[in-house]
């Protein structure tokens, strides 16, 4: 039995301990915000926070999250009011929207660590998150906007 906390709720899981967190939160908890894009940690669509750090849910096993605190996009804010969610809306970042939960979770971890990231730090932190619609320019703008708003 694996115990972990997801978005503030304590959970117990007695299934396959190798199961990636992504499929655990999606198929077993019904938290559908984290998305499947590659299954190999190459695109970032599945990004969630594990004890505050951005991880790829598709290659992080439930077992490795034992006793840990997992936050998905659903737990980032109660009502979409996180500064990044606000900045994302104001900058009109999303096109198809599919990768954006992962982008926002990655950016949130970045801002936790570096409240005012440089362009290079944004590129480094966000490099692993692919957006096939090509919204990168607006992602950079929104991160800077949220960072500026927070400082």
């Amino acid at each position: 039995m694996i115990k972990l906390t997801v978005n503030g709720t304590e959970r117990e899981f007695d299934g396959d301990p190798e199961m990636p967190l992504l499929w655990y939160v999606r198929d077993h908890l019904g938290l559908l915000g984290a998305k499947f894009g590659c299954g190999a940690g190459l695109c970032g669509a599945c990004t969630v926070h594990l004890n505050g750090e951005a991880v790829r849910g598709c290659i992080t096993s439930v077992a490795s999250a034992e006793n840990a605190n997992v936050v998905t996009i659903e737990g980032l804010s109660d009502d979409g009011s996180h500064p990044l969610q606000v900045a994302w809306s104001e900058t009109a970042v999303p096109q198809c929207g599919y990768c954006q939960a992962g982008q926002i979770m990655q950016a949130a971890a970045l801002l936790n660590e570096k409240p005012n990231p440089s362009d290079g730090e944004i590129d480094d932190a966000m490099w692993g998150n692919i957006c096939r619609c090509g919204t990168y320019q607006r992602i950079k703008t929104a991160i800077k906007s949220a960072a500026g708003g927070a400082s």
Partner: protein
């Protein structure tokens, strides 16, 4: 795609795929609708739905209150909500926001009174194939006219109730307003409006451009909050009670069949419930599933683990010998011989073959196989019962999907309910419903709702690829460097072969995508195609054959300019020539013009020249650049829209970085300004990926690239500063989703030449500059 085809070509395709009865039936209905735009509207609005005041045209809500519904897209409810049905698929272009903008503006409705419903796949909506950059192009006028009919009837109803002449009244902010200040909300007029006769669509006045309150401006996306909170529901997120999860082991080579597999090993995996074999696929592959063996499990992870345990043995296939390098060589060999002439202007040209004399310039261009790779891989949920199939899918083409599912299940299309989720990107991949049919068949065999999930590897290995192409162009130039002869040969397997194995050269549709619509003022032109057969399923990818044609033509103009010692911008102006309308039919070209009449959507060189000049000006074309930097430009008309791209690159140690891209765009009347800008920003990245990074390759019939480590696409650090310059005019609405892509790759390679003196003729650029 239907909108891209000539109707006869489409009919031909229908006949060829007619073995699935459902598809044939459904497609013929679509063809009828396509064949006459007016008929579509006639079906929707010409029937006396609003006039008869019976239950057919009134929608009851609560205690017999009357809603007003003058057609399939628009309903005004007594509670003052305006219900709009979006019948086109949302895949990032913003149609779920721009479509209501058209209707609300023309009706005089309030933005906050709109509720949006996604229409299911149904021919009553007209064309739903969200492909070919058609959503605004094909529906701008029908939606405005439908909204104007609704507005006219609401005003007429208010005139009756107020006893005031109709002409005295106007509709604004969701109310009809009288000169004396009295007003009635739309919702209070539904009962009266529903008793009125529907006015003919040509008898209703449309708003003047200067009176627009929404069209041409920007609105927050209706799905924005869902996107940023993770509440948006894509195909991947579809759910039904008791749902199972499935993945499929598909033939690694097209044409192979499963001959042996280990069912017991798969069932031994915790959570795996069933192993089922799909029907083997035979050519033409069309929109059919590829076959293989499916694992049905209680969650996705179990299904994926079960598939690994299956250990399927595959039969040989006629395509086992497919190897992409050898295939390229074969295309290049074909390109050396005279092909089929698809356009001849003046005395034509044979300069590719014969002439080795002075003033002859020649080049060969290559574009590899490409994959659409939307971030959401193909995914569909279906629940098949004895009498019905309920589907939730991220599909670009719900009517075709419905017809294909019906055909596969021996049902009528009416027995299939095709619900459209948000699409996590489409780019042409999700126009093909093979994955949706898989879900319907597996659900039937598993006797449960089943969601079929494609992995990224599945998406790359079993795609409908953008065709590999080799093109040769030669020109004969005058003393001043201007071309007097232009000879272009384009060789690639046709998308049509996927539907008809007898097809062996590019179709009329494909030569109309940036090849025979050459807009240059050159007296003697000859354009040919060469034969090519495909060992893979070929399909359409964002801007389709425009990708290779714009790349070759846009690069070759730059090569001619440098040969002539002229500034490329000036040279582009020279070859475009005088302001005029170009008609490929003058050169006996059979041109489809994206399904639009040439009279209303001409090839206008003045508009082409205008975007070229605008991009150059905004990019600062003539500025001095440091060593190792350069600027390149290209311009292309596709989907009846004109886009010029100026790229500024820096090359250091063999690595290209694109510093900036300026996109100048004339798409005629646009609806949602910010979404047009966003589509162009995205097209810059999509085009940049194809220019610098992406290619699909094959060995022993199998695709080599497995995931985003092998099939590389642009990441955030490759992002140029992208500026979009939108020309605001009242020309007919053109496409937006696709036309930004074609000029990007040639602009980038032209910039690389300016920076380094090295000419890239094969995409992607990859590591070519470091060798």
């Amino acid at each position: 795609m239907k909108a891209l085809m000539g109707l006869d070509e489409f009919e031909e395709l229908v006949g060829l795929t007619g073995e699935t009865g459902g598809l044939e039936t459904d497609r013929r209905q679509v063809v009828k609708l396509l064949g006459a735009g007016a008929l579509t509207l006639g079906v929707l609005f010409g029937s006396p739905r609003a006039a008869t005041a019976d239950t057919d045209n009134k929608r009851k809500r609560g205690n017999g209150v009357t809603s007003f519904s003058p057609g399939v897209y628009i309903t005004v409810h007594p509670d003052d909500t305006l219900e709009i049905i979006c019948h086109r698929s949302e895949m990032g272009q913003g149609i779920r926001t721009s479509m209501p903008m058209i209707i609300a503006d023309e009706m005089g409705a309030r933005w906050d009174q709109i509720t949006l419903t996604q229409g299911t796949g149904d021919p009553k909506f007209g064309d739903q194939n969200t492909d070919g950059s058609t959503s605004i192009r094909k529906f701008y006028w029908p939606l405005r006219k439908a909204a104007a009919q609704a507005r006219t009837m609401l005003i007429r109803a208010a005139a009756q109730e107020l006893g005031i002449e109709e002409a005295e009244l106007k509709a604004e902010n969701g109310t009809v307003i009288a000169p004396d200040g009295r007003s009635i909300a739309f919702g209070k007029l539904t009962a009266t409006a529903s008793t009125l006769e529907l006015p003919a669509e040509d008898d209703v006045a449309l708003k003047a451009t200067e009176d627009f309150t929404m069209i041409g401006k920007s609105k927050p996306l209706v799905d924005m909050k869902a996107f940023v909170t993770g509440e948006g529901r894509f195909g991947m997120d579809a759910q039904l009670p008791g749902m199972k999860f499935a993945v499929v082991a598909r033939p690694p080579v097209v044409g192979a069949k499963p001959v042996d597999w280990d069912t017991d090993a798969a069932l031994a995996v915790q959570g795996v419930e069933r192993v089922v074999k799909l029907p083997d696929a035979e050519a033409p592959y069309a929109f059919k599933p590829l076959g293989g063996v499916a694992i049905v499990a209680r969650d996705t992870w179990a299904a994926m683990k079960g598939r690994k345990a299956l250990n399927v043995k595959w039969s040989d296939s006629p395509n086992d010998g497919f190897e992409s390098t050898a295939y390229r060589e074969a295309l290049a060999e074909t390109a050396k011989s005279t092909g089929e002439v698809v356009l001849k202007r003046g005395k034509g040209s044979t300069v590719l073959e014969a002439d080795t004399g002075k003033g002859r310039i020649e080049a060969e261009y290559y574009v590899p196989l490409l994959a659409q790779s939307p971030m959401e891989p193909p995914v569909a949920l279906a629940h098949t019962t004895a009498t019905k199939c309920l589907v939730f899918a991220s599909t670009q083409d719900p009517q075709t999907a419905r017809g294909m599912v019906a055909g596969a299940l021996n049902m009528k299309p009416e027995q299939v309910e095709m619900n459209i989720t948000l699409l996590g990107g489409g780019f042409g991949r999700k126009s093909k419903p093979d994955f949706i049919v898989e879900a319907a068949l597996i659900s039937k065999m598993a006797d449960a709702p089943v969601k079929v999930i494609w992995s990224r590897e599945d998406d790359l290995h079993h795609g409908y690829y953008h065709a590999m192409s080799v093109q040769r162009i030669a020109a004969k130039v005058n003393e001043d460097g201007t071309p007097k002869e232009w000879h272009h040969r384009s060789v690639f397997p046709s998308i049509m072969e996927t539907f008809n194995p007898a097809v062996e050269r590019p179709s009329k549709l494909e030569v109309s995508l940036g090849l025979i619509d050459l807009p240059f003022q050159i007296p003697n032109v000859q354009i040919e195609t060469g034969k090519a057969k495909s060992p893979l399923r070929i399909g359409w990818l964002r801007s389709v054959s425009n990708i290779q044609h714009a790349f070759a033509i846009g690069s070759f103009v730059d090569e001619l300019a440098h040969q002539a010692g002229q500034d490329p911008l000036d040279y582009w102006r020279t070859v475009i020539g005088d302001p005029r309308l170009v008609d490929p039919a003058d050169g006996e070209g059979d041109y489809t013009n994206y399904g639009e009449p040439m009279e209303r959507f001409p090839i206008d060189t003045a508009r082409l020249r205008a975007v070229l000049d605008l991009a150059a000006e905004k990019a600062g074309w003539s500025q001095d650049l440091p060593e190792g930097e350069g600027m390149g430009i290209a311009v292309h008309r596709s989907f009846v829209t004109y886009v010029a791209t100026a790229a500024h690159v820096a090359v250091a140690d063999g690595v290209v970085s694109v510093k900036s891209i300026d996109m100048a765009v004339d798409c005629g009347r646009f609806v949602h300004k910010d979404r047009v800008m966003a589509q162009m920003e995205g097209a810059a990245i999509y085009g940049l990926s194809a220019a610098l990074y992406s290619q699909v390759t094959a060995k022993d019939g199998r695709i080599i690239e497995n995931n985003f480590d092998g099939y590389e696409i642009a990441r955030i650090d490759a992002t140029p500063t992208t500026r979009v310059h939108l020309i605001d005019n009242d020309a007919e609405p053109g496409g937006v989703g696709e036309p930004g892509v074609p000029p990007v790759a040639p602009a980038i390679v032209n910039a690389i030449f300016a920076a380094t003196g090295k000419r890239i003729r094969s995409l992607p650029v990859g590591k070519q500059l470091s060798i």
